[in-house]
C-alpha cells in the first residue's frame, strides 16, 4: 500500500503543474497571472474586483525587488505562490509573499553580442507544464525546471551575429512554445517559430517574408526580401477555438530608404493569423504597406467579441504604431473599422479595405520630412489593455512628430541596415496620454494627459481601474470609466514595463517595474 501511495505521489508530481487548459481558462483563476498578457486574448485585464475607485487610494508598497540592470521591462508570471521574472539572459523565482529569491538562473551573454537597434531588455517569461520558458539575447529559447530553475533544454533559434536576438516573452500554447525575433534594423529576415514544449525541437517556422514561389514574394523587388527585416519581437495572441495564433510583424528594412524594396513588402507592418499546429498562414492584414517610417506592427493583438456593423463578431483590434486604430474580423482578416486615435499627417484616412490613403510627399527625404507620428509611433511595444466591462481599449499614446531623413543603406551582416533616421520635434512640444477608445470604433472616450510620451503598458481590472506609469516615475491608477486619477506613487525611475495583477493570500495586488525596481502594491 505504501508503494502505491508513493507511486501516486510521484505520478502527481510528474504531472504538469500548469497544463495548457489552465492557461486557456486563466479567467477562472484570477489570483494567478499565467501568460504574458494575462490571457491568450491579449487583454492584459485582471478580473479581480477587490481594488476599486473607492479604496485604491490606500494602495501601499508591500515589497520591491531590485534588478542589477538599469531598466526592468519584465512582465512577471504568477503561479502557486511564486512570481517568475526575467531579465536579459536571466530568470528568477521569487516568494510571492516577500519577494525573497527562491532560485536564480543565468546564461552568460557572449562578449561579442550586440543589440543592433534596440536595448538589452527582456520582457518576460512563459509558463507551461513543469517548465518556465525564457528567450535570450543570444537567440536561445531555454526551458527551466519550475521548482529549481535548472535548465531542461536550450534550443538555438538563430545565430545572433548577423543581428538576430530575442527580447520577448515566449507564448506557450497547447504543447508548443512560440517566439519571434528582434533585429529589424540589421537586415534580418524575420519569422515566428514554434518549439515542442517537452523536447525543444522546432515544430514549425513561419517566414514573415515569403520566399521565392510563395504568395507575397512578388511584393519585394529583386533580392530585397533576403534582408527585408520583418521582425516579430512582441508576444502574439491565441484563439483556442479557432486554433489560430495572431502575431504582429515589424518594419521592412532598410527602414527609411525604400528604394531597393519597391512593392508592399508583405508581411511587414501586418498582423498574421497562423494555424497553431502547422504555422501555415490563414490570413494577413497589412496596416502600413511599403512602410518608410519604422512603424512596426509588433503589437500584442487583442481578441475581442463585440458588436460591429449590426452583429456580434469575433474581432481582433489594434491601436497601431502608425496612429490608426483597427478592428478586423479575426476569422477572415476582413477590415471592419478604423480611425486615427493620435495625431498623424501621413494619410488622409483608410479606404474601405483598411488601406491607408496616402498624403503625397511624406516619405523620408534628403533634406528631411516632418511627419506625425515619430518613428516610435503613436504607441509601441508596451501592451494596451481591454476591459470587457467598460468595452474600452486603453492605450498609452505618444504625441510626437519627427523630421525623417533618407540616407544610403548598405547591407553588411551584423551592422545597421536602416537608411536614415529622424530628428524629433523639441521635447517641450512632445506629450502623451493614456487614452480610452471604444472597442468597435476606436473613438476616444477619455484621455489622461502625461507630461512626456510614455513607455509604459496598461492594465485594467474588474474593480474598474486602469494602472499605468510615466517616464517621470509615477505609477498610477485611473478610473476605468472616466480617466480620473485616483492614486499615484513615485517609483524613482521611468516606467517601461507592463503591469500585472494577482492575489497574495487572497488579497489583490498589482506589480509593475519602474527603473530597475519591481514594485508590488496592495492594500
Amino acid at each position: 500500500m505504501k508503494h502505491v501511495v508513493t507511486a501516486l505521489f510521484w505520478a502527481a508530481a510528474l504531472q504538469a503543474q500548469v497544463p495548457y487548459e489552465r492557461i486557456a481558462n486563466a479567467h477562472k483563476e484570477p489570483g494567478n497571472w499565467l501568460t504574458y498578457s494575462g490571457n491568450y486574448a491579449g487583454h492584459r485585464h485582471s478580473p479581480l474586483t477587490e481594488l476599486t475607485p473607492a479604496n485604491v487610494g490606500g494602495l501601499k508598497v508591500k515589497w520591491a525587488y531590485q534588478f542589477d540592470l538599469n531598466r526592468a521591462e519584465t512582465s512577471p508570471i504568477v503561479e502557486g505562490g511564486i512570481m517568475y521574472i526575467s531579465a536579459p539572459n536571466k530568470a528568477a523565482a521569487l516568494d510571492l509573499k516577500t519577494g525573497r529569491v527562491i532560485w536564480n538562473w543565468e546564461r552568460p551573454i557572449p562578449s561579442d553580442y550586440q543589440s543592433i537597434g534596440f536595448g538589452r531588455v527582456n520582457r518576460g517569461p512563459a509558463i507551461l507544464g513543469d517548465k518556465l520558458y525564457v528567450a535570450t539575447l543570444d537567440c536561445y529559447l531555454v526551458a527551466l525546471d519550475l521548482k529549481t530553475g535548472q535548465q531542461r533544454w536550450a534550443a538555438q533559434v538563430d545565430d545572433y551575429k548577423p543581428g538576430y536576438s530575442l527580447t520577448l516573452a515566449p507564448l506557450a500554447i497547447r504543447d508548443k512554445v512560440l517566439v519571434g525575433v528582434s533585429g529589424g534594423e540589421a537586415g534580418i529576415r524575420g519569422y515566428v517559430d514554434a518549439y515542442d514544449a517537452q523536447s525543444g525541437k522546432r515544430v514549425w517556422r513561419f517566414h514573415a517574408i515569403p520566399g521565392p514561389g510563395e504568395p507575397g514574394h512578388e511584393t519585394w523587388a529583386g533580392d530585397s526580401w533576403k534582408t527585408g527585416g520583418a521582425s516579430t519581437w512582441v508576444t502574439g495572441a491565441y484563439d483556442p477555438e479557432l486554433n489560430l495564433v495572431y502575431w504582429g510583424i515589424g518594419n521592412p528594412g532598410p527602414d527609411w530608404n525604400g528604394d531597393s524594396r519597391k512593392g508592399d513588402n508583405l508581411y511587414t507592418c501586418s498582423f498574421v493569423a497562423l494555424d497553431g499546429d502547422t504555422g501555415k498562414l490563414k490570413w494577413h492584414f497589412q496596416f502600413t504597406p511599403h512602410d518608410t517610417h519604422d512603424w512596426d506592427s509588433t503589437h500584442v493583438p487583442m481578441l475581442v467579441d463585440a458588436e460591429l456593423r449590426g452583429r456580434q463578431r469575433k474581432l481582433i483590434v489594434n491601436p497601431n504604431r502608425n496612429a490608426f486604430y483597427y478592428a478586423l474580423d479575426r476569422t477572415t482578416g476582413e477590415f471592419l473599422a478604423g480611425r486615427a486615435y493620435a495625431k498623424q499627417t501621413w494619410a488622409k484616412g483608410l479606404d474601405d479595405k483598411g488601406r491607408p490613403i496616402l498624403i503625397p510627399g511624406m516619405d523620408p527625404s534628403e533634406e528631411g520630412t516632418l511627419v506625425w507620428p515619430s518613428l516610435n509611433g503613436a504607441t509601441v511595444w508596451f501592451s494596451p489593455s481591454y476591459s470587457p466591462q467598460t468595452k474600452l481599449v486603453y492605450v498609452a499614446t505618444r504625441e510626437v512628430g519627427s523630421t525623417y531623413y533618407k540616407r544610403e543603406a548598405q547591407y553588411k551582416p551584423g551592422t545597421f541596415f536602416a537608411g536614415g533616421g529622424e530628428t524629433r520635434i523639441p521635447e517641450k512640444e512632445q506629450w502623451g496620454a493614456i487614452r480610452a477608445l471604444e472597442v468597435a470604433t476606436g473613438k476616444m472616450a477619455w484621455e489622461f494627459r502625461l507630461v512626456t510620451p510614455p513607455w509604459s503598458g496598461v492594465l485594467s481590472t474588474g474593480g474598474g481601474l486602469v494602472f499605468s506609469g510615466s517616464n517621470e516615475g509615477n505609477i498610477f491608477a485611473l478610473d476605468a470609466k472616466t480617466g480620473k486619477p485616483l492614486w499615484d506613487f513615485q517609483g524613482g525611475g521611468p516606467v517601461m514595463a507592463n503591469p500585472i495583477s494577482f492575489q497574495i493570500d487572497g488579497k489583490q495586488h498589482v506589480a509593475v517595474a519602474a527603473g530597475r525596481t519591481l514594485y508590488v502594491f496592495g492594500l
Partner: protein, 246 residues
C-alpha cells in the same frame, strides 16, 4: 577584438598615419546611415543620447570618442567592427563638431565685454568658471554651444531664446500666486524655484490652477540697457568662453 588592440596599442595607428586622416564628409555619411538610427540626424538624440554637447560624458575627447565608436559602450551601444580606422576617426571628427560652434570673428572687444558682464550684474544669475550665482544657465562654455547671433538675440530678447530647462511656470495655491523656473514636473506634481531662490513643491490636484509661461523668461531683456558697443563687447566675451580657460 582587433579594434581594442588597435586603439589600446596605438601601434597600427602610428604606422599608418595617412589611413587615419579624418574626413568630416565621410564621417557625416557614415553617421547618417549608421549612427543617426539612435542618436538622431545631426546628433540631436533619440533612443541614444544627444551628441550636440561641447563635451560628451562618456567620451570627453576625440581619442576616447574614437574608442567608444570602435568598441561601443556596453550594454546599449554596439561597436563598429565594420569600420576602418579612418572611418572611425572620420565619424569621431564629425561628432566632435556637432557639439561645438566653430570660433568666429566677432566685432566687439572681448576684454571689455567681461567688464560689461560685471557692471550689468549678469553674475547675479549666471556662473562663469564657478564665479557668480547659480540661478540661470552656467555660461562657462557658452561660446562652444552658441554662435554670436544666438548670444546677441538671447541678451536682447531672452524670452524668444529660452534656454532648455528654464521654463517659467505660474501656480495659484491657497490664494497665493507663485512664479518660478520649473525644476521638475510629472503628471501629478510640479516643482519650481522662485526668483528669491526658494523651492516650491505642489500636487497639481491641490492647487487652484497652474500654467506654463513658454513666452516668458525670468531673464530681463537687456535691449535698452546696453549700448551697441557694450552689446558687441559682451557678445565677443561670451563667445570666447569655451570651457577651457580659467
Amino acid at each position: 577584438m582587433w579594434s581594442v588592440l588597435l586603439f589600446a596599442g596605438g601601434l597600427a595607428w602610428g604606422q599608418s598615419p595617412h589611413e587615419a586622416v579624418p574626413d568630416v564628409t565621410l564621417g557625416k555619411r557614415i553617421f547618417d546611415s549608421q549612427c543617426a538610427v539612435c542618436h538622431g540626424q545631426g546628433g540631436t538624440g533619440g533612443r541614444g543620447p544627444a551628441l550636440t554637447k561641447p563635451k560628451l560624458a562618456k567620451a570627453p575627447d576625440e581619442e576616447s570618442l574614437r574608442r567608444a565608436i570602435a568598441q561601443g559602450i556596453p550594454p546599449e551601444m554596439p561597436g563598429s567592427w565594420q569600420l576602418s580606422v579612418r572611418e572611425v576617426a572620420s565619424v569621431a571628427r564629425y561628432v566632435v563638431g556637432l557639439g561645438q560652434v566653430a570660433p568666429e570673428k566677432l566685432p566687439g572687444d572681448a576684454q571689455h565685454g567681461r567688464a560689461v558682464f560685471q557692471a550689468k550684474g549678469c553674475g547675479g544669475c549666471h556662473l562663469v568658471a564657478g564665479q557668480g550665482t547659480a540661478r540661470g544657465p552656467d555660461l562657462s562654455a557658452i561660446g562652444a554651444k552658441r554662435n554670436g547671433a544666438h548670444l546677441r538675440a538671447s541678451i536682447t530678447q531672452p524670452a524668444a531664446h529660452l534656454a532648455e530647462d528654464y521654463l517659467l511656470v505660474e501656480v495659484v495655491s491657497a490664494g497665493k500666486t507663485v512664479r518660478g523656473v520649473r525644476l521638475a514636473e510629472d503628471p501629478f506634481t510640479l516643482q519650481l524655484r522662485d526668483g528669491a531662490g526658494a523651492l516650491h513643491s505642489f500636487r497639481k490636484s491641490q492647487v487652484q490652477r497652474w500654467r506654463h509661461l513658454p513666452a516668458e523668461s525670468s531673464m530681463p531683456a537687456f535691449a535698452r540697457n546696453l549700448s551697441a558697443t557694450e552689446l558687441d563687447d559682451l557678445v565677443a566675451w561670451l563667445a570666447s568662453l569655451r570651457g577651457e580657460q580659467q
